[in-house]
């Protein structure tokens, strides 16, 4: 029943898009002469390009389908993943942290850890990041194949091979520039594909009030429209749990951990042409992020209202919400554009991971520990080979995803183990110069263990179940809430261990920390007076402040 009636007109639209995807890789090839051209776009891109790529790297199809699924399953509380769970961290990255990353000229997030801490911390982070990146690339690939199979009937293996080939082609040719340019293009195509669903869907259910009325008759009920309802500690009824989990677990630990330390995101900012453009990268990305829920959560709610039996054993799963609406509403032509957007989003989700994986592997693992001091040309070749290997591993790991019914939860689980402790380490690294090299690795390890322990112990804690009553089968556990609390556990474990180890071991001399820690200026930085002051509209503080203001107003309106 998911099968779309795709005709030659749609295939023409798809064909034009995929030809352009390859063309971008081929033309971007001319701009690659050094390893930094290949892995960091030669640090040459304007802020609007890196800013849209920043948001697009996160706007993979798993994110889109998963958030529409969450919208249908939980209602408007899903906006917490966009507003409190993203925008403050993006603003913090742009305004506070980017000067440390871009200003110190590190080429990756792990390299920052190498300079701030020691090789042990660096290797731990580089390896876990590389592992997570290829796993998630594989998840994207497998999910793409499932969707193509359901929508247009191609066999799974064929979809995997063809889509992996496209990603391989444009990244091995064009490098990060190929990935970033495709991400920006994909951003516009996916928006063009989703807007018609929202317009037609809202029109057919009788507008916003019609949607509210129809949802109130579903199992979600009227509370689907309250984002902060039922978040009381001790007796939560909100689908995302209590406010401690949402504010600290999601809004602080997970969100800051992902947006400010995940190299797949930060890499886009490092590709910007100067510090101001790098600072504006996450800030420009924050504005679309604020409004994307209208294109994901609302289709989820529309699907719940108009698709019979959605999310029940008799009907389709929540993850099918957007494909079902595409088949129900879109005529040929519009359907082709929406399909192009969806497929592009899958490839972008994979490409962002592959293009950050190859950088970390080439610079942080190969160049740092295995083959040092070769000519730049050698590392450019390594980057290309590693891209191919990364995609092959991605294909191999694609099947790990198949054991999990809700892909979104699977990804969140990965991030909570690898990413949750990171922010604690970074915040101490950047703001407490006493933090010692060995505290870095100890804190990260403790945080990762903390997250894992919380994840497994949490299943036996009644508080994480609806009505706070333990379900011996563990089936009804609030997985999101447990994930948020797991993140809090990771953060606290990392913080405590980092402080204790710091007090017991020897700190780095202050002379080695210039430009890496708050209050210690970089001795190699250009004279502030010689750097041209950006125009008033390009001020990071102004852009960040406006984004936070919009989120605050929207949060009050939709409270």
């Amino acid at each position: 029943m998911l099968r779309l009636h795709v005709n030659p007109f749609d295939y023409t639209i798809l064909g034009i898009y995929f030809a352009l995807v390859i063309a971008i890789g081929v033309i971007a090839r001319r701009a690659v002469a050094t390893s930094e051209d290949f892995l960091l776009s030669g640090r040459s891109l304007p802020a609007w390009v890196t800013g849209l790529a920043f948001i697009s790297a996160n706007l993979g199809a798993i994110e889109i389908l998963g958030m529409a699924a969450n919208g249908a399953q939980y209602g408007l509380p899903t906006v917490h993943f966009y507003w409190i769970g993203a925008v403050p961290a993006m603003v913090f990255l742009g305004v506070v942290m980017m000067p440390f990353y871009y200003g110190s000229r590190v080429r990756s997030v792990p390299e920052f850890l190498l300079r701030r801490f020691n090789p042990a911390t660096h290797l731990f982070n580089a390896l876990t990041f590389a592992l997570a990146a290829v796993l998630i690339a594989g998840v994207n690939l497998y999910a793409l194949a499932l969707v193509i199979n359901a929508l247009i009937g191609w066999p799974i293996w064929l979809s995997i091979v063809i889509s992996a080939f496209f990603v391989l082609a444009y990244i091995t040719l064009g490098g990060l520039s190929g990935a970033i340019y495709n991400e920006v293009l994909q951003f516009f195509v996916i928006i063009a594909g989703l807007v018609p669903l929202v317009v037609i869907g809202l029109h057919s259910v009788g507008g916003w009030s019609g949607l509210q009325d129809k949802i109130s008759h579903t199992k979600l009920g009227a509370s689907a429209f309250s984002t902060w309802g039922g978040v009381g500690v001790g007796n939560w009824t909100n689908p995302l749990g209590d406010w401690i989990g949402i504010v600290f677990g999601l809004g602080f630990v997970l969100s800051f951990g992902y947006w400010t330390t995940n190299f797949a995101e930060v890499q886009r900012a490092l590709a910007a042409k100067d510090l101001n453009a790098a600072q504006r990268t996450p800030l420009i990305g924050a504005y679309p992020k604020i409004f994307i829920p209208a294109l994901t959560i609302i289709p989820g709610l529309i699907a719940l209202a108009v698709i019979p039996n959605l999310g029940t054993p008799k009907g389709a799963t929540y993850n099918d919400a957007i494909p079902l609406l595409m088949g129900k509403y879109l005529p040929n032509g519009a359907l082709g554009v929406a399909l192009a957007g969806l497929l592009a989003a899958f490839m972008a989700g994979m490409a962002a991971n592959v293009s950050s994986f190859n950088t970390v592997f080439t610079y942080d693992i190969w160049q740092t520990y295995i083959r040092r001091g070769r000519r730049d040309r050698y590392y450019l070749q390594v980057g290309r080979v590693v891209t191919v290997v990364g995609i092959l591993i991605g294909i191999g790991t694609a099947f790990i995803a198949s054991g999990y019914s809700n892909i979104m939860n699977y990804i969140q689980l990965l991030f909570s183990f690898f990413n949750a402790p990171l922010f604690a380490t970074f915040i101490l690294a950047m703001f407490w110069k006493r933090t010692t090299p060995w505290a870095g690795i100890a804190g990260l390890a403790a945080g990762t263990i903390g997250a894992a322990v919380m994840h497994f112990v949490g299943y036996d804690i009644a508080y994480f179940y609806p009505h706070q009553v333990l379900d011996p089968t563990h089936a009804t556990i609030n997985a999101q809430m447990l994930n948020f609390y797991g993140a809090i556990a990771a953060f606290v474990a990392d913080l405590v261990v980092t402080v204790i180890v710091s007090l017991a071991t020897k700190p780095k001399p202050v002379s080695e920390l210039g430009g890496l820690v708050w209050g210690l200026p970089d001795p190699n930085a250009p004279d502030p007076a010689s750097v041209p002051k950006p125009a008033w509209w390009a001020s990071p503080k102004l852009l960040g402040g406006i984004a936070l203001g919009i989120v605050l107003v929207l949060s009050i309106i939709f409270a």
């Binding site: 293009l185 879109l330 554009v337």
Partner: protein, 94 residues
């Protein structure tokens, strides 16, 4: 352990300045899609119209994409990309 990459004499210069302007491609694609959808919008069948809640979505989407595509092409023409980097820029920031 924190050395910068070896930028010895053999290191080639960055070619990043040769990167093309993305605005042309976005504008071109959207104008092309816009024309295709707008034309298709003139041949919308009654069944297609009913399916889309009586909105001629191909027509509206086509017009919208034409507008966005034209905006990018105009932006590209009015403020072309300039590479004012010095010729000795290595792209390594050194």
């Amino acid at each position: 352990m924190s050395e910068v990459p070896d930028t010895g004499a053999e290191t080639p210069q960055s070619a990043a300045a040769r990167l093309f302007d993305l605005r042309v491609l976005i504008g071109g694609l959207f104008v092309l899609y816009g024309i295709m959808l707008t034309v298709a919008g003139f041949f919308t069948t009654p069944e297609e119209l009913a399916k889309a809640s009586n909105i001629n979505i191909n027509l509206w989407m086509g017009i919208g994409m034409l507008v966005i595509g034209t905006f990018f092409l105009a932006w590209w023409r009015l403020s072309p990309l300039r590479h004012d980097q010095p010729p000795d820029a290595t792209g390594t920031g050194l």
